[in-house]
Amino acid sequence: QQQVRQSPQSLTVWEGETAILNCSYEDSTFNYFPWYQQFPGEGPALLISISSVSDKKEDGRFTIFFNKREKKLSLHITDSQPGDSATYFCAASETGFASALTFGSGTKVIVLP
């Protein structure tokens, strides 16, 4: 069973547009939600994260919106740039000793110039 779901699988936007990536989860014990960015041939790297006590987190052009009641979150990439072309993973964890992450299946974003 997939505890963290992402949609769409892939997304193509033009440079300057806003890309919206969706994520949902099932386990109510999850309380920390990082997003990772992965370029081809590289390992994932932490992009931005939010805890369940917040409903919005902003970092430059990247914003997470979080709805705890519906168990949904989204990542908005405003003013998308070709360099943002990558695969984005939503992840979730409980506050725990080893903080193991459960990942979604990813959204591949292509930004056309």
Binding site: S93, T95, F97, A98
Partner: protein, 113 residues
């Protein structure tokens, strides 16, 4: 510079053979993780460790063993490799106090023929 280094980066093995994937981290993190990445599945947790001498099963541990002989090193062992274990494997390290913030290596591509 703090880093997670994996070896080998590419490996071709035969069915039934033994494979060892190695990971070294200079982050001085207590926690280390092994994930595999397959198209459509995102990253799935195989084994993780709280510190030297400890190993814990993740979500998909069957067919894999792990070893943490020191703070810096964490190995993933496939005693009897099967074609279904063909994948890209990522090692990561994380600090106990920083929930969900993992630092990934560049991955090891394993092909089992």
């Amino acid at each position: 510079e703090a880093a997670v280094t994996q070896s080998p980066r590419n490996k071709v093995a035969v069915t039934g053979g033994k494979v060892t994937l190695s990971c070294n981290q200079t982050n001085n993190h207590n926690n280390m993780y092994w994930y595999r990445q397959d198209t459509g599945h995102g990253l799935r947790l195989i084994h993780y460790s709280y510190g030297a001498g400890s190993t814990e099963k993740g979500d998909i541990p069957d067919g894999y063993k792990a070893s943490r002989p020191s703070q810096e090193n964490f190995s993933l062992i496939l005693e009897l490799a099967t074609p279904s274990q063909t994948s890209v494997y990522f090692c990561a390290s994380g600090d106990t106090g920083r929930a969900g913030q993992l630092y990934f290596g560049e991955g090891s591509k394993l092909t089992v023929l």
